[in-house]
């Protein structure tokens, strides 16, 4: 993408297409030109030159501050968007450093035939970039370095004979250090072909220790591997759907889902996997991507279940200007062998339960659907630990104790009247209602956990109190008189008994 910065700026600015505008960055000796429009280039402005020099050539230049961070963000967005052509996309170089060096590398091995051959693929890429208002230079080559050289100097599709293609190019196409390029030029080695014809040993001896000319050559010619950073050994199961026309109907997501689930399930079946988390991406025509995902409690590849989980979320994808492609990816999978539950469609108890948990969690959120968890603590509020039902599919036996069936999230302060400070409570007031205590049992003393609470934490004496109407409460007194940890003990209500 040679003109990314200026094109991004042009899309958001209201200057005419032939205005002489330059984007500048702050350099050590004043502003440096970062990108230029076509009109400005014709008037002598060059990338990398100082603004003052360019102004000397043509005082009518308009200078605007550039924004490399936004350029970088755009490249990142485009990299995600380029996932429509290949599952492996890498951002090449540092796109914010200098314009013309940024780019995307796609591993299109075994991908091109899906788009009708390499020619069609390149045309598709070029067309779609042009639609978003960006100039692109596309080259396909057997090695990444050769593809870089070709895309920057002579965009084309390169066959297996790399040396012939990159031979006529200037040596700077090998991405060498500018100093080395200068040295090579002085030696008369101007093209890559000239460099290839020099004996390796001589080259290696001449450029020993410096940036490896030999290595760069090897990378370009495929003698040395250059893996993409984004390489994943096992790409996640994925199903792709391309649309003839951009779909703007809100139902598009749901309909795409119906078509995507069967191929994905087939792939999962073939690899004996079950999905734990799935994400549906909708690729919009303007280059942005809408993503939604769901998680499941146990690995699953049941089409009906996945369909039901996703239906609402898929329908909520906002098409904006229209989707023209959808991808369904199983981001997180677990092994799932082939299994037949029964002859009739009647899922087993655990599986049905897991599906129920999935449905509830998708709609209400993982924090709202939870299961109890055993925590080794005597403090009631800690002992009743909860964990998301998604995370914990196995049932746990909670030890049963003489405990209330309901616990207030926070103990609430109550006013208590008692005969003696150390004796049984007689009457208490909770939420503006007075309760006369008819019968009471206790205390059950729970000491503070000194290993995790501050030393000022007070012990609690719990009482089971029954009022005159038969309602039972769990109240406690925090602290004792004269325990040296505060003033008079306070009373709290913590739970209700059934």
């Amino acid at each position: 993408m040679p003109n990314l910065a200026i094109e991004r700026w042009a899309k958001s600015a209201d200057y005419g297409p032939d205005a002489p505008v330059v984007l500048t960055l702050e350099g050590p000796h004043g502003p440096i030109i970062h990108a230029v429009t076509k009109a400005a280039a014709e008037r002598g402005a060059r990338t990398g030159a100082r603004l003052t020099d360019a102004r000397a050539l043509d005082p009518a230049l308009t200078a605007m501050p550039g924004d490399p961070a936004a350029d970088g963000a755009l490249v990142e967005r485009l990299a995600k968007w380029a996932g429509r052509w290949s599952p492996l996309v890498e951002i090449d170089g540092d796109p914010s450093a200098l314009p013309g060096t940024g780019g995307l590398r796609l591993d299109v091995t075994g991908v091109a035939h899906l788009f009708g051959g390499e020619q069609e693929l390149v045309r598709d890429i070029r067309r779609r970039f042009a639609k978003t208002g960006l100039t692109s230079r596309v080259a396909i080559a057997p090695t990444a370095a050769a593809a870089w050289a070709l895309s920057h100097h002579a965009p084309c599709i390169c066959g297996p004979d790399v040396a012939a293609r990159i031979g006529p190019l200037h040596v700077s196409a090998l991405r060498l250090d500018p100093d080395i390029v200068r040295t090579l030029e002085r030696l008369g080695l101007k093209t890559v072909a000239a460099l290839i014809s020099v004996p390796r040993l001589a080259l290696a001896r001449r450029f020993r220790g410096a940036e490896d000319v030999v290595e760069a050559l090897d990378r370009a010619l495929g003698r040395k591997p250059e893996p993409l950073t984004a390489v994943g050994a096992d790409p996640p199961p994925r199903a792709l759907l391309k649309l003839e026309e951009p779909a703007t109907h809100p139902e598009a997501g749901r309909q795409a889902l119906e078509r995507l689930i069967p191929p994905l399930v087939r792939e999962l079946e073939g690899r004996r996997l079950g999905a734990r988390r799935l994400s549906l991406s909708g690729y919009r025509v303007d280059g942005s991507v809408a993503v939604t995902s769901v998680a499941t409690a146990i690995p699953s590849r049941e089409p009906k279940h996945l369909q039901r989980l996703f239906a609402d979320k898929a329908a909520a994808l906002d098409p904006e200007f229209g989707f023209d492609a959808f991808a369904l990816t199983a981001d997180w999978t677990e092994d799932l062998g082939a299994a037949q539950e029964s002859l009739v469609e009647e899922p087993s108890g655990t599986r049905e339960l897991a599906r129920l948990v999935d449905r509830l969690t998708v709609k209400l959120g993982p924090r709202a659907v939870r299961r109890p968890q055993v925590v080794e603590s005597h403090l009631p509020e800690r002992a009743s630990g909860w964990v998301s039902a998604l995370a914990n599919a196995e049932p746990i036996a909670i030890p049963s104790m003489q405990r209330p069936q309901r616990l207030l999230d926070r103990p609430e302060a109550i006013d208590v009247i008692y005969a003696t400070p150390e004796g049984m409570p007689r009457r208490f007031m909770w939420r503006r209602a007075v309760h006369d205590i008819a019968r009471v049992e206790g205390p059950e003393r729970i000491a503070p956990e000194w290993w995790r609470q501050p030393s000022s934490a007070r012990l609690r004496d719990y009482y089971r109190a029954e009022d005159a109407d038969g309602r039972r409460y769990w109240i406690y007194r925090e602290g004792l008189i004269g325990d040296g940890r505060g003033g008079l003990p306070a009373w709290f209500i913590h739970g209700l008994f059934g």
Binding site: A368, R370, S384, A397, P399
Partner: protein, 234 residues
């Protein structure tokens, strides 16, 4: 509810409410039996006092513990009368749903009731939410009868409006039975129950207790009946 009928026994009422248990004579009139629904269905339980947790004991005593239990609470119910506390729920597998409002709670209940992998679905709703209308309750009742999962709709501080529930109860805690080990401590739980609407059963009023895995009928002494009346109507 069949366990109620099976373990039905009369506790002779005297001053101390001691548990002198007689088996009910078989010829006793129909109105003395605590009715059981013919099968799994939707029952509605009104707590007379919204901050009375007593109904939980009555409900839990009737839910089988072999399968997990889905317990749905809306946010107001949690704020007003507390969140359920697993150690107090007699060691059963549990899924708890904290719903934002009554609409979400009813949706979660319906999803659960359609599942035959649950022992029961309990839903607590605070007040009279708009989403809880005749159609919503009717849907729950039909789904429950179809899947065989009993459903309990617990209403805290709500009015007895139109409902599709097959059995509608009003429940209040009653003073507990005598604790033999310590007369000053609370004993076995007791409740005043009123069945005010049921399909195929006359309405009635009972006072029962739960002790040693059985429900007992508690006979009232003459003096307490008036107070009883007042509490149920409150």
């Amino acid at each position: 509810m069949s366990r109620v009928a099976a373990g039905l026994a009369l506790v002779a009422g005297d001053e101390s409410r001691s548990a002198k248990i007689h088996q009910l004579p078989s010829g006793l009139g129909e109105r003395w039996r605590v009715p059981a629904p013919p099968g799994p269905t939707l029952s509605e339980l009104f707590s007379v006092h919204p901050r009375d947790g007593g109904w939980a004991g009555f409900l839990l005593a009737q839910v089988a513990a072999d399968k997990p239990l889905l317990w749905v609470q809306d946010r107001m119910a949690i704020l007003e009368s507390g969140r359920i506390h697993p150690p107090g729920l007699a060691a059963r597998d549990l899924i708890h749903v904290e719903a934002r409002d009554a609409r979400d709670a009813l949706w979660a209940m319906e999803e659960g009731v359609r599942c035959s992998c649950l022992s029961a679905v309990v839903g607590e709703l605070w007040g009279d939410p708009k989403a809880l209308d005749f159609i919503a309750t009717r849907r729950l009742a039909v789904a429950s009868e179809r899947s065989g999962t009993p459903c309990w709709l617990v209403r805290l501080g709500g009015q007895t409006n139109l409902s599709g529930a097959r059995m509608r109860w009003r429940i209040a805690s009653a003073p507990s039975l005598l604790n033999h080990l310590d007369p000053r401590s609370p004993g076995a739980s007791a409740w005043d129950l009123e069945l005010f609407r049921a399909r195929g059963h006359p309405p009635g009023r009972w006072s029962i207790a739960h002790e040693a895995d059985r429900f007992h009928l508690v006979a009232e002494s003459g003096d307490r009946a008036l107070g009883q009346e007042r509490r149920l109507r409150a």
